[in-house]
């Protein structure tokens, strides 16, 4: 049971990431490098934040916790445009390289795969540091409950929360990339908004028995991000198809 539980929690938290990695990322070395880079960026951001907050630990009052969440999420959201901006620089280099190697330039779906890889790197790093390192004891016998949540083991809560954040990080990166590319403000704001929403919803867990409400709400956020991301990309792919068929038709007519 012990081993099964540990593996179960791990798969719950990281199973989707693993599936995405194997099916989309693993075969493309450049994407793997993007995942590693963005995981490193996320880790550095976490270390900087914890260097700042280290002095205040342990945090007793809840307004400090709110402040901590606000600073952390804002800082990480500041990194997203920086990540996109450096990617844009790199994209120029890559396209030049493509030309030299006589290969096609990066297409829309390839850019989206890069965004996915970048988001997945954030998400995996998040899951690894917040959840996987916590899960190690779950491979042993017994389990662990915290006082404020007597309904579910801590490990289960951590696994589900980190699954939602993995999804939010991964797919909101795609939404944000689309937003930056097209200059649409609503898309650009979407990613930080969902990140803030999910982080504040996890505050519900502080209340007695709050995890029964907080965890599902965070999961709903994650589902919302996936659906929205799917809608955006679907619409954009549709647009491109129409554009291509229009231009084909124009060619034929002329």
């Amino acid at each position: 049971m012990a081993l099964a539980a540990g593996i179960g929690y791990t798969l719950l938290a990281l199973g989707p990431a693993f599936a995405l990695f194997v099916s989309v990322i693993a075969a493309k070395p450049l994407l793997v490098l993007f995942v590693l880079t963005s995981a490193l960026i996320w880790l550095v951001s976490l270390i900087i934040l914890s260097a700042f907050w280290r002095a205040f630990l342990p945090i007793g009052s809840s307004w400090l916790l709110v402040l901590l969440l606000v600073t952390c999420v804002s800082f990480q959201e500041l990194i997203r445009p920086v990540f996109w901006f450096s990617y844009k620089k790199l994209e120029g280099l890559l396209n030049a390289l493509a030309q030299r190697m006589s290969k096609p330039e990066l297409k829309y779906y390839e850019t989206m795969q890069i965004a996915l890889a970048g988001g997945l790197g954030h998400g995996i790093a998040h899951a690894v540091f917040f959840c996987l390192s916590l899960l190690t004891p779950s491979f042993g016998k017994a389990t662990f409950y915290v006082d404020s949540c007597k309904q579910m083991p801590l490990f289960l809560v951590a696994a589900m929360l980190s699954l939602s954040f993995l999804i939010i990080h991964t797919f909101s990166m795609i939404v944000a990339f689309n937003g930056y590319d097209d200059g649409k403000r609503s898309l650009v704001v979407f990613a930080p908004a969902m990140h803030f929403a999910a982080a504040f919803l996890s505050l519900v867990n502080l209340f007695q028995g709050g995890c029964m409400v907080g965890v599902p709400l965070v999961l709903v956020c994650a589902v919302g991000v996936i659906c929205y991301c799917g809608k955006i990309v679907w619409a954009k792919v549709g647009d491109q198809d129409t554009a291509i068929s229009m231009s084909n038709r124009a060619n034929i007519l002329s």
């Binding site: 260097a51 342990p58 916790l65 929360l161 867990n205």
Partner: protein, 465 residues
């Protein structure tokens, strides 16, 4: 959308070729450490790395620091001495001796250390196994391993790579048994040593590289070579069968490569190698055609007076291990270096320029140089010692907590990436340890002192962001 021809698939493949085995080696060491020494039990082990001082829990911090410093200096002294001995041996052309020595030490490591590790695993996991099967298994493992390293040309590259990773893993695992302070000081000392040995004008590795370059031969050492990825232009029709073909082509180009080396060496360097072949758009369906064409290209190139087939190559290191030890514990490493030059196919001549790597493709222009290390035109080599010390760092981190392992892993890979980028810029043999080890150590302590309290505090209150 032919999946094989996109940019995403072709760029960075050889970086992954290095990152993958390094990651595998680290993963295995972490698993071994977690499995066999769950609480970081510092069994005091006598070995070369603890010549001067044996750490005890009760010693004061300054005593530990001083002792660890002396230990690491002693280790570096031994390593330097052995490296110079190797340079000397090589200078007097005792290549055979070096080769046999490396082969012997590899076999010795695989049998004794490998045997011990397997034995401990069997005990820990209580696997029922009779002694006869066990001995046969170890014997097979050793013999195949020694052959794979000794006659690497005759073996599939995967087997040689597997054994190199194994040797790196075993060496790193034994190093993790060093006391904590000594481990950290050793890492720092080896990184500094690596820096000087490779880059300083009189550094042993640098001397060796120059010697090898001037002789235009290869030096036997334990070096991990990536399989070069299929060249982008020639793989448009790639399929499974092509893979094989590319591989074979590559091997034939490598006729002279030797890699053997020793156990844990520290190592050293990473070097870019371009494969020379004139290869531009070739679409070869079979090996023969390909080789013929390569030759043709080569001749053409030569006639143009270009030195194409050369590769500068580079480096490595080796390690000497010393076997003086009694129970297998002492391992040392020595870095030595080696250089290899690779010759073009069938002996057409190679030239090397001092360690710079030269690019061979005629059709690339200069600005292409940087990228060439990143795009799929060559293979990279990494000394086994680098494997060992990376894994040692991660293995030591695993004794504290898994969080530090992930942080160290990312830091080391980032350092490796930075080194590879420098490699493309500098185009000479570079030490692979300093950047990675520095980053790894910094991240270890940052994670342990700063990040973990915050993360544990937050996640146990079920807050997350």
């Amino acid at each position: 959308m032919d999946g094989r021809t996109g940019l995403l698939e072709s760029v960075g493949a050889e970086i992954m070729g290095i990152v993958m085995p390094v990651s595998t080696c680290m993963l295995l060491v972490v698993l071994l450490v977690r499995c066999l020494t769950p609480h970081g039990s510092d069994v005091s082990v006598r070995s070369v790395a603890t010549l001067v001082y044996t750490e005890k829990e009760s010693d004061s911090t300054s005593q530990k620091l001083e002792g660890a410093l002396l230990n690491s200096l002693a280790l570096v002294g031994v390593v330097t001495f052995i490296t110079f001995m190797l340079v000397l041996l090589y200078y007097y052309r005792c290549t055979k001796f070096i080769k046999y020595y490396i082969c012997f030490s590899a076999a010795f490591m695989l049998s004794t250390m490998g045997g011990t590790v397997v034995f401990q695993l069997i005990q820990t996991l209580s696997i029922p196994l009779d002694i006869v099967s066990f001995l046969i298994f170890i014997l097979n493992f050793t013999v195949v391993g020694a052959l794979a390293i000794f006659m690497s040309n005759a073996m599939p590259i995967l087997i040689t790579q597997f054994y190199l990773v194994m040797i790196g893993m075993l060496a790193a695992f034994w190093f993790t048994m060093l006391p904590e302070w000594t481990t950290w000081m050793t890492l720092v000392a080896m990184a500094v040593y690596d820096l000087f040995a490779v880059l300083a004008p009189g550094g042993p590795l640098n001397l060796l590289v120059e010697l090898v370059v001037s002789r235009d031969e290869e030096f036997p050492a334990l070096i991990y070579e990536t399989r070069p990825v299929a060249r982008p232009d020639s793989d448009s029709n790639a399929g499974a069968s092509n893979d094989n073909q590319h591989r074979r082509r590559w091997r034939s180009q490598n006729v002279r490569r030797t890699s053997a080396s020793e156990d844990a060496g520290p190592a050293t360097e990473l070097q870019p190698q371009t494969i020379s072949s004139g290869g531009r758009n070739r679409d070869l369906r079979d090996l023969m055609d390909e080789e013929r064409q390569v030759n043709r290209d080569v001749h053409e190139d030569n006639s143009e007076g270009r030195e194409n087939n050369s590769n500068g190559s580079l480096l490595h290191e080796n390690i000497g291990s010393d076997d003086e030890s009694i129970p297998l514990v002492s391992r040392e490493s020595m870095p030595s270096v080696q250089v290899t030059s690779r010759s073009g196919n069938q002996g057409t001549h190679t030239e090397q320029h001092n360690i710079t790597m030269q690019r061979d493709d005629d059709d690339d222009d200069h600005e292409g140089l940087n990228i060439s290390a990143l795009s799929a035109t060559g293979s990279l080599r990494l000394g086994l010692g680098d494997f060992v010390f990376y894994s040692l760092l991660v293995g030591r981190a695993a004794m504290y907590d898994l969080t530090t392992v992930y942080a160290c892993y990312l830091a080391i890979i980032a350092g490796l990436g930075a080194t590879l980028i420098l490699l493309a810029v500098a185009r000479r043999a570079l030490p692979a340890l300093p950047i990675s080890v520095t980053l790894g150590i910094i991240f270890y302590f940052l994670t342990r002192l700063l990040m973990e309290p915050l993360v544990i505090g937050l996640s146990t209150t079920l807050l997350i962001f």
